[in-house]
């Protein structure tokens, strides 16, 4: 194709996005669009499956059968999200094995919130309430993103996430109405998860790359700082409702702006965790790599068996 022809295609492509048309896998798309989507969607998929681990840590110790079942179901949902996000990636011409390879070698990132340990049962509440809450704020706009498979996956993900978020809040509510120990446990979880949750919404706009292009492709509709403000404005009243104290002495409602002012985020910690030096980066990655390595013989066997079956079928036919 001549440069002019490509330029022409690009213009048509951008116009389609501007008209809110969905881009489908078989449509022509700029290479950068493809790559950016693989990066973002796979990062999202990886976050779902790494995110199974901190919560998986409490399945055997959940305090009631009802909570155990709900937690199992939640972690299962995350596996499901991972599954269809990987599938959406695959429509762009990359295999799941390649994506795993990127995760296992540290080439691909995942949400760094999952590099914090789950220390008490209340963390199951805090993760649902805060982490899923922040995730939804990130993801709701993506239900209208330009790439069809991603947008459709996001509709389903958001629906389930919002269920998880309510469930997490409900765990916190139960604790905050419980015994002294339970209230302390809930407060402690809020103390530990609050700041990492704010960091989940990404670096400050000043530090953020990819933003402009992503806005155009509707991979992003609001800036990180706007999303963070939205999260805080939405979450602080919920903390009040729980009777818990947000661990930020600078937090204060600003009558003039109609928003909460808040204290400074420890970006050093953020970058340390992103770069692989958080409390559990190594544990999470080991867990994923071990699961994959220990499962190799199983996957090999499944493939060998399928081939044998196929051969038998062909023999019968011939």
């Amino acid at each position: 194709m001549s440069e002019k022809e490509i330029k022409n295609l690009e213009e048509i492509f951008e116009a389609r996005i501007a008209r809110d048309e969905k881009i489908e896998p078989k449509d022509w798309m700029p290479e950068k669009y493809r790559k950016t989507h693989i990066r973002q969607m796979s990062q999202h998929a990886h976050s779902e499956i790494v995110g199974m681990l901190p919560e998986g840590n409490w399945i055997t110790r959940a305090p009631s059968l009802r909570r155990k079942a709900a937690l199992l179901a939640k972690v299962q949902d995350e596996a499901g999200h991972g599954l269809y996000l990987y599938s959406a990636c695959e429509t762009l011409g990359i295999t799941r094995d390649e994506l795993y390879e990127q995760l296992h070698t540290g080439k691909a990132k995942y949400s760094s919130i999952f590099n914090y340990p789950t220390v008490t049962w209340a963390d199951m509440g805090a993760i649902g309430w805060l982490v899923d809450g922040a995730a939804i704020i990130n993801q709701v706009p993506l239900c209208n993103t330009s790439f069809g498979p991603y947008a459709r996956a996001m509709v389903r993900v958001c629906k389930e996430e919002s269920f998880h978020q309510r469930q997490g809040f409900e765990i916190m509510l139960t604790l905050s109405k419980g015994s002294e120990e339970q209230i302390a446990m809930a407060q402690d979880a809020l103390n530990r998860w609050w700041w990492p949750s704010l960091m989940m919404l990404g670096p400050t706009d000043a530090e953020s790359v990819h933003t402009e292009q992503s806005m155009k492709w509707k991979l992003k509709r609001k800036s990180n700082d706007e999303l963070r403000q939205q999260f805080i404005d939405q979450t602080v009243p919920q903390a009040d409702l729980l009777g818990l104290t947000v661990p930020d002495p600078d937090l204060k409602f600003n009558e003039a702006t109609g928003h909460y002012d808040f204290g400074e985020i420890d970006w050093d910690e953020f970058w340390q965790v992103v770069k692989g030096h958080g409390p559990c980066n190594k544990e999470r990655m080991n867990a994923r790599v071990n699961a994959w390595d220990n499962g190799e013989w199983v996957r090999d066997a499944a493939m060998a068996h399928a081939e044998k079956k196929e051969k038998k079928k062909l023999k019968k036919v011939s």
């Binding site: 220990n294 199983v298 090999d300």
Partner: protein, 249 residues
């Protein structure tokens, strides 16, 4: 009434402990699809457990909750068979354990559908579809791994050989089992021992696996004498309820 209570626990504890074992695996399976499927089985078993315990609590009439029964007994009071408490040594063991239990479980559930007890009948009616799925899933994997690669064949055979000695216990009748079977409420599991080994053997043969010939079998679970794994399972399972007694979660 005591025997009905004990009978229900005998069934329910199998589901609880197997669900717990499967719960350990969540996020650590060989791929996402098996992770999802095993979590699903765990959830089904846990659902059945809750129905049984809720009913047991009612039968006992001492004001206990499902959680009291699940979390607050001593090890010697859990009545599950030894098979379901065996560890997730590797995926072959997970599948062998599941398969050896599922074949039995479905036979038992089918009979329980004919129980004179309305609640047990209802649990069985609801559970039968789930357990049929479990059995299909685990049987398929036995075939896949048995008739897969040389390595998988070896690992699958090892698991079957190792777990075989825990199969016979399923067909032993406790006093509660006998009384409830005679009353038309419980299932006489001893009756389908032969059918069980026949069905298991057929799948194993299709999977190109050797049917173990050992005549030595382990027992004790139904009387609450468990393998040394059980204590560690309970330490985790009961951790929260023991650490924070009498709270709402």
């Amino acid at each position: 009434r005591g025997n009905l209570y004990n009978y229900i626990l005998g069934i329910a504890d199998n589901s609880l402990i197997l669900a717990q074992r499967l719960g350990e695996l969540c996020g650590h399976g060989p791929n996402l699809e098996t992770d999802i499927a095993l979590t699903n089985i765990s959830l089904d078993l846990l659902g059945q457990t809750r129905s049984y315990y809720q009913y047991a609590a009612k039968v006992e009439g001492a004001g206990k909750s499902e959680d009291d029964i699940a979390f607050l007994r001593l090890e010697r009071e859990y009545k599950n068979i030894l098979l379901v408490e065996q560890p997730n040594t590797h995926f072959g063991y997970v599948m062998a354990r599941q398969f050896l239990f599922d074949i039995y479980h479905l036979m038992m559930m089918k009979e329980l559908q004919k129980s004179k007890d309305e609640t047990l009948r209802a649990v069985a009616n609801k559970g039968i579809k789930e357990v049929s799925y479990h059995k299909r899933f685990s049987s398929d994997w036995i075939k896949r791994l048995g008739d897969g690669t040389e390595e998988s064949h070896g690992k699958m055979q090892e698991a079957i050989d190792d777990l075989w000695r825990y199969t016979n216990e399923m067909f032993q009748m406790t006093a509660a089992d006998t009384e409830m079977a005679e009353a038309g409420i419980g299932v006489d599991v001893s009756k389908f021992k032969e059918a069980y080994y026949k069905e298991v053997s057929e799948v194993l043969k299709e999977a190109t696996l050797t049917v173990p010939e050992s005549k030595y079998f382990a027992k004790g679970g139904k009387e609450g004498i468990h393998t040394e794994h059980m204590g560690y399972i309970l330490a985790d399972l009961q951790y929260m309820q023991k650490t924070f007694p009498n709270m709402t979660w």
